[in-house]
Symmetry: C2
Subunit: 476 residues, 2 copies
């Protein structure tokens, strides 16, 4: 997969092009076609590529079985992924010990987006891709979204289109290449390669792919469930970009631009943010131990699902898929179905005129590094319904209250290749100047420039905060 | 441990002081006392604080036992660390599968150094610290080198001196704060907090502590086994620093300075380095599984040691320690004793006049992120003695040959709190302009500025490469 370096220096690293941040900002300001037209194109691709997803009991989940010794749900090839048990102990949070199923997928997926200048403006090649867990079938997805099990054709299907651009060095100029975590309560140690490669030459077109500017993608983010999670995480890793805002503009978009550009107006230096995150990574004790599924307490397996006895958290279910435009035409797989709609929210506040987000040090058993920077609130509100207020996440009541001004409130999907109808309400709410800047020790304030800098390296910013970062950039 | 933020902004982040890089460079250029005098002070501290380390069989290793079910070597409190088994499979390197003992230490140690301006020059507070595994007893160590088991006084001893500066926010200005890995073949998932805090006020003096400039520490690095591994890793994480070299100077020190400062003369952009490392992190398959020690194949346990049947790799041995100036006066502990002297070497080459190091993508089972950037060569040469050349590490013969010019060749110690007489030869060798810049895919060239930038984030640069980075900065 890795070819030897040639003696030539890699990539056109020193061209006379404008700085990347400026080219990205121009792409964000360019909207050649309205979102409605793009959504119509997506719907048209969905009609052109019919598919069918059917509920099946585990006994009919072809290719999958419960391992007789462990009770883990595994594929007969040993590849793809498995559902295993995890035992967790921690000294942080309201629950000190629990057992849970968790998805183990040692494969590193490539989440790759091709970029190219068209008429002088950067465009990104987005795929109309069906995933069996999507609430709406097809969403705008990265150019390539594929694991080695796929692109090495473990399933004996077709090779993922365009994957060679990301596997073979020298095919283009790398704009982003970083391993990032995924949902730390659902995946154990999962990491994906988030990569953007810019090519100079034309790319062979295909009817399920479309070149979009950042501005068009931002527009699509104002509609529910159109830009999939994989696309959102890749694009969130792009370097910071914004055109200098009109100093008089009072819009939230201008505040976002200022917060993305400023180095001087930050509440604390970047080293202060890093100090805060390292202290929170080093502080808590988190001991996780892989256990056989049959030893996972409080969870039950029926013919159709694995579920917690309380009915909360999530279920593991089986699905059979028939599709007309995928590498293989038919397959079965388990999906993780969350119970209830998730909520992720950034509280934002202007401090000395500069927009700051309130970040939380988020501990999850599946993180490789214990704690990552997460949104102010990240939970399933249904779990905290009812009169009992104890254990209610900090700031949950605030973000749902009338005391805040919502700038963004859109449902977005988690990845439909592993998650069934997993929808998360994305909220950005602003608090006023009377809101205290003092926080509990596991929260802190940072600018969008700082959040972007942190997201450039692995295991610093969680997938939910990265997703919200992209939504923030979409504000006008 | 974490106190709430106050409403005041953390730290004096916006002072009118000179930039940190310049202050560090001035500290590196300042040598108020010669190395011989500092070495004499260290020897004097050793005489003042007598200690005794005795070999003991496992049966007499008070406080430690082999767990009856697993055979793991554990402390009776369950704290400190344990020696467990690991099963490893990988598709990279000459060996596809093996079992080994490995140290598991979930504790995050604090490796903390206090900094302070004295007469306008940054000094660092170094401790004359004994560790039972040190070949020479006492070495220059960080101000604080302590695990929660220590500073929370699990052993019921005294609290580590100065630890409050690193646990309590607002005690100073944070210059470095990053979690870094340790030896990936000996530790499983270990991470330490590398932290430097600058204080403005005087610090209570103590006879075992001394304030040194970077220049003095660099001088000490030219003598064997005086600056311990923990001090080397913390100092290697400092931001890049160098005074602009005399353009005419032909010294290696001037080449190091230029390579530390330059942004334009790099063989590839930083994104190219990151692309290379991410590709190498994402490429190999590495599956590790914790197993009970009793299932570890090819290793034998006697009354006195755990060893590989080949006599290679390392042994686990027991030691009883009596010390006069430690938190507890007497204790027993296991140590990992490597078989043979290690070798770590950076090949350096001037490309278009700018010094580059040749880095290797180093895969180890204990890394949290599979692969980190390592030195050109990292091995125990004794393991490759004899006529059989197959499996010999790339570039090993080169760095030991007459074809290269050695700029640095000094024995340095691994951490004596876990490792017994673990000594590693540190080499920096230069190759000429005829040496090809083409490399195998798991090697690449980068400047010292780029290496420093990579080392600023977790799990990018391994401990051996960080140690060599500091030695490179010590060249004149």
């Amino acid at each position: 997969m890795l070819l030897p370096h040639t003696d030539a220096r890699p990539g056109p690293g020193r061209s006379a092009r404008a700085p990347l941040a400026l080219r990205l900002a121009r792409s964000a300001a360019h909207r050649p076609r309205p979102a409605a037209e793009l959504a119509a194109w997506l719907a048209q691709r969905q009609r052109a590529n019919p598919f069918e997803v059917a509920e099946v009991p585990f006994a009919e989940l072809t290719g999958w079985r419960f391992a007789p010794d462990s009770g883990d749900l595994v594929h007969e090839t040993g590849r793809f992924f498995s559902v295993e048990g995890l035992h967790v102990r921690t000294d942080r949070g309201p629950v000190a010990e629990w057992w849970q199923p968790i998805i183990h997928q040692p494969d590193r997926a490539i989440l790759g987006i091709l970029a190219r200048e068209i008429d002088g403006v950067l465009h990104f090649l987005m795929q109309a891709k069906m995933e069996p867990g999507n609430v709406n079938g097809v969403q705008f997805s990265p150019t390539v979204q594929s694991t080695p099990s796929n692109y090495q054709r473990t399933h004996r299907g077709a090779r993922s289109r365009y994957v060679e651009y990301f596997l073979e060095p020298g095919r283009g100029r790398v704009l982003v290449d970083v391993l990032q975590s995924e949902q730390g309560s659902w995946f154990r140690g999962k990491r994906n390669r988030n990569i953007v490669v810019e090519v100079a030459d034309e790319v062979e077109p295909h009817e399920d792919f479309v070149w979009l500017t950042l501005g068009q993608i931002h527009d699509l983010l104002h509609r529910p469930n159109l830009v999939n999670m994989d696309a959102r995480t890749v694009l969130s890793c792009l370097p910071g970009h914004a055109l200098a805002p009109d100093p008089g503009a009072g819009t939230i978009g201008a505040a976002v631009a200022r917060s993305s550009l400023t180095e001087d107006g930050a509440w604390q230096p970047l080293l202060g943010v890093r100090n805060w995150l390292t202290a929170n990574k080093a502080g808590p004790t988190l001991a996780t131990r892989r256990v056989p599924m049959r030893e996972v307490r409080d969870w039950q397996r029926t013919d159709d699902e694995i579920r917690h006895r309380s009915g909360r958290f999530f279920r593991i279910v089986g699905r059979r898929v028939r599709a007309s435009n995928r590498e293989v035409a038919q397959w079965c797989q388990p999906l993780l179905a969350p119970c209830g709609t998730g909520l992720v929210a950034f509280v934002v506040r202007r401090i000395d005129g500069v927009l700051h987000v309130l970040a939380h040090a988020d501990l999850r058993p599946g993180y490789r590094d214990t704690v990552e920077l997460g949104p102010t609130v990240q939970c399933t509100p249904d779990n905290f319904a009812g009169p009992a207020r104890s254990g209610r996440p900090e700031y949950l009541d605030l973000v749902l209250s009338d005391e805040v001004r919502a700038h963004y409130d859109v449902l977005q999907s988690e990845e439909g290749g592993r998650f069934h109808h997993a929808v998360t309400r994305h909220l950005v709410v602003e608090v006023g100047p009377d809101f205290p800047t003092a926080t509990p020790p596991d929260y802190t304030w940072l600018t969008l420039r700082q959040l972007t800098a942190m997201a450039a390296f692995s295991y610093q910013v969680n997938i939910e905060a990265r997703s919200l970062l992209l939504c923030l950039r979409a504000l006008r």
